[in-house]
Amino acid sequence: MKLLLKIGLTTKLKQSITMVAVCTSMLFTQPLYAREIAKKTASDLEFEASGKMAVEQRYFLKEGLYSQQLSRSQSSFSIEAELYWQWNEGSDSVIFTPFYRVDSQDEQRTHGDIRELAYVHASDDWELRIGIRKEFWGVTEFQHLVDVINQTDGVEDFDGEDKLGQQMVNLSLVNDWGIVDVLLLPGFRERTYAGENGRLRGPLVVDENNVSYESSAGQQHLDLALRWSHSIGDFDLGAYWFHGTNREAYLSPSLQSSTSDLAQYSLQQHYAQMDQLGVDVQATLGDWLWKFESIYRTTTLEDFVATQAGFEYSFIGVLDSNLDLGLLMEHSWDSRGEVEFGEQGSLMQNDLFIGARLAFNDMQSSELLMGLGSDLDHNAFSFIIEANRRFGDNFIASVDVRLLQSNNENDLLYSLSKDDHAQLSLAWYF
């Protein structure tokens, strides 16, 4: 009798799951307006489409430092769609995320990319992910030091947080003692750089057609990464080893095959092989988040250690309101020290960052972020404000202001010192 009841229950349960799925899919199909469409077929396949379209307007406060650069204003339009299929109740899925941007001034910024095109199979304690994907590692806010898998889409934005899709085979194993990720990365992506007419670049343009590799396999080198990550109580820990092509190119001036009589120089990109060890730690202790990232990188040209460390403290419900205020402070250090102009190294060799994040927790999810970066070795500052708010149900408007200041002509930041700008963008989510 008991057994019978049990069987009856499971059938009922199965029925109710099917009902849930059917109801959900009906819920999705209802709005005929090009929103997400979900359809349940006999093979259990579910499909979902969504995306974002945005217009962006940049206004530079001063004329550019270099003659070919655009003068004051730059407009652009971008679209990113996400197509998603899943079956076997989500155990198998395919995601496709194409992206394209058109820029009014900088032809290098007019570009497209497949951000994701991947198949994922999720089993009980392992996952296999094959295709073009994005993988983020790290805990800090002002610099993403340990984040190594994806190449930076450098023309996208000033903060370097936009990444190009990376081809990979990723096996992820869940254990009691943490998650182990094994990544095979066939095929390397070259970084994108601003073109001749673009702002936010150095005096010489990076030549996309003048690229060399240390490895004889060139762009086809098979990179490897092995990562462990785990949460133990209040601590979140991660450690990895990466072997493969350095995502940062060594740039050196080279004479362009001159078509005109004038000798023109541009920058050649050289991608060396590297081994990198990385560690990231976050301690979440009440209102305090303590963050630490460190890498050790060795190439045939140099060895160095770099760290990014700091904290975030949050005040919840400031002055009995719904406002949350987060205060951030981080320090960057790099063993290579101050970098002469044109030399290899990091801008963030001894820099201090402070920031404040205000979340209004209102219906429109209004947010304000301010940050100040200061080079402690010489006189250079950067200041950013980011504000965004939802309009209606599907629009997000944001304003970004970036001010850059350097008195030292030998500083890399000096070449950007005329590039103070405000950026306004309006995105529609569908």
Partner: protein
């Protein structure tokens, strides 16, 4: 049977701690308040796991409305707080964002947020209990699972509500980060279902009223209200929460509540 035994021993320990800490025994009203809450929790044990869809209708004083849609997966954890995964679907700009929480009755919860634009998993501070959930009138603590240890209790008497006889119990949050000094909860004497909660702010004035309606019973045991309406008595805003597609014992395990499942949550 096992869970009941464990619960009873947990309660015994709790009572003992309460008694030894306050050095005075609980008053009769406190004992009865605790006993009602223990019974309510006991009646809701053993569902193992659940999945459901939640829609929030936010309304401000001017009558402007906005919709939030999330999907919830919850795993019952014996002798600890539940594990939950919240997947955001609307508004569209937060689609794909997911929130993983391991709640604990006494120590602070463990919480992670997945941000789809960067593909970043971020451990966040769980101190934010009193803050609004997605701009609604529900605070994070209003949506977390009920655990006996989270409050101390006082029985206030019986009262008629929705044609049912209700226990009226006052609850005092143990956590100093709670946004409330107290809550008054109405539970019907027959099924121990919550029908109404009054929330009192840090200044002890009435802040919000939450009413539960459209109760349905699942697996012939567990009661869930399809509708919850929260009205802010101080600013006139309200949020109506509608649950649908409830399913229990769907076979979720610990492995559905880790970083990997957070990253691919849909």
């Amino acid at each position: 049977m096992l869970t009941q035994k464990k619960l009873m021993s947990a309660i015994a320990v709790l009572c003992l701690t309460l008694v030894s800490n306050s050095s005075t025994a609980l008053t009769l009203d406190e004992q009865k308040g605790l006993a009602i809450s223990v019974e309510a929790k006991k009646r809701d044990l053993g569902w193992q796991d659940s999945t459901s869809d939640m829609q929030m209708l936010l309304r401000n004083k001017q009558g402007q409305e906005s919709i939030r849609e999330v999907k919830m997966k919850t795993l019952e954890v014996v002798n600890d707080g539940d594990k939950s995964l919240t997947i955001f679907n609307k508004p569209r700009d937060v689609k794909g964002t997911a929130f993983l929480s391991f709640s604990h009755p006494v120590v602070s919860d463990d919480q992670w947020l997945f941000l789809p634009a960067l593909k970043r998993v971020k451990r966040i501070s769980s101190r934010n209990k009193s803050g609004p959930f997605m701009g609604s009138e529900f605070a994070f603590e209003d949506l977390s699972s009920f655990e006996v240890e989270k409050y101390t209790y006082k029985y206030l008497g019986e009262e008629e509500l929705n044609g049912l006889t209700n226990f009226k119990v006052e609850q005092y949050p143990v956590d100093e980060n709670s946004g409330y000094t107290r809550r008054i909860v109405w539970l019907d004497t027959k099924e121990y279902r919550v029908h109404k909660i009054n929330f009192y702010d840090r200044k002890d004035s009435l802040l919000k009223t939450l009413t539960f309606s459209d109760y349905k019973q699942y697996l012939a045991k567990y009661w869930r209200a399809d509708k919850q309406e929260m009205v802010n008595q101080q600013n006139g805003k309200s949020t109506v929460l509608t649950w649908s597609n409830y399913a229990f014992k769907t076979g979720l395990t610990d492995n559905d509540f880790n970083r990997n499942s957070l990253k691919r949550a849909r």
